[in-house]
Point group: C2
DNA sequence: GCGTTGTTTTGAATTATTCAAAATAAGATC
DNA sequence: GATCTTATTTTGAATAATTCAAAACAACGC
């Protein structure tokens, strides 16, 4: 195997510290949970973290996620009508397939190479910083179910 | 001028009826407000409608918007961290420029012709129905202010 | 005009998220 | 290694957009 548990933990420590953030137990736990289950909601992350770290508060998770997002460590994705999702795949301009039935989210690489999705045809004077592309559809499981 | 008030009103009636919906005062008022101010929130629409139609409830507006969205008459746009916005420009696969400072939304036509934004490179078995593209940036006003 | 069905009102509940202050712990400094 | 500063977490509550449910009402077809 590539990494022992301790080594993985040291990786997490490095990642958090490199972002200029203090290393704390909630942060390590949230980051690890996020690596194991991308596109997780704050609530789901709290539930993942609680067994190992009883007493962790929802606000701690929100705080961790806010700090990570601010630091560019995680990316926030807001599907309409549900809780926000978080993922640690970041900085690669990837997009999302969203199942409108079950809410499942799948990553998808940028449509045509790298550039097109980042520049609108007419930016109307806006300084464009990023592009969010979401494809709405029905996932394989939900297709079969109907 | 192209249309008198009455003529415009008759257009609205036709639009609503063509969607298979009953024509009611709240629906006419919301649709008219939406045509005059695209990218409006439910609250903003309620405020626009109240002077002409006192006693209109917020739930009426939500109900109208749900019916319109369901019928394909309006499109809902959910910017992260704020109330949902609604617009009646629909069916043309246009996208949005969103100012991350002030929340201003501007329409932008599809990036490269029509097709590219509608098909991901790998749809992972999803039946893709639509694509939402949002460009995040700073609008001209906010650029000048800083 | 009348009845059916869909819409609006009324009133309340829900849910994700944020705010604020006090308690605590991480990391720098001595 | 102890101490201090500052960031983080806990605790407790508030907010805000939206939805739910039942009763009153109004549109449209006959």
């Amino acid at each position: 195997m590539a990494h022992t548990t301790v080594e993985r933990n040291e990786d997490l420590v490095r990642i958090i510290r490199a972002a200029g953030l203090k290393v704390t137990a909630p942060r390590l736990a949230v980051l690890e949970a996020l690596q194991q289950a991308p596109h997780s909601s704050a609530e789901h992350l709290l539930l993942s973290v609680l067994p190992a770290l009883p007493g962790t508060s929802a606000q701690a998770v929100y705080g961790v996620l806010a700090a990570f997002t601010e630091a560019g460590l995680v990316r926030r994705f807001d599907p309409p009508g549900t809780a926000a999702l978080f993922e640690c795949r970041v900085g690669d301009n990837h997009h999302h397939l969203l199942c409108i039935r079950c809410g499942k989210v799948t990553d998808v690489d940028c449509v045509v190479g790298a550039a097109p999705c980042l520049s609108p045809s007419d930016s109307s004077g806006f300084a464009v910083l990023s592009a969010e592309v979401t494809f709405n559809g029905i996932c394989p499981q939900c297709r079969n179910a109907s």
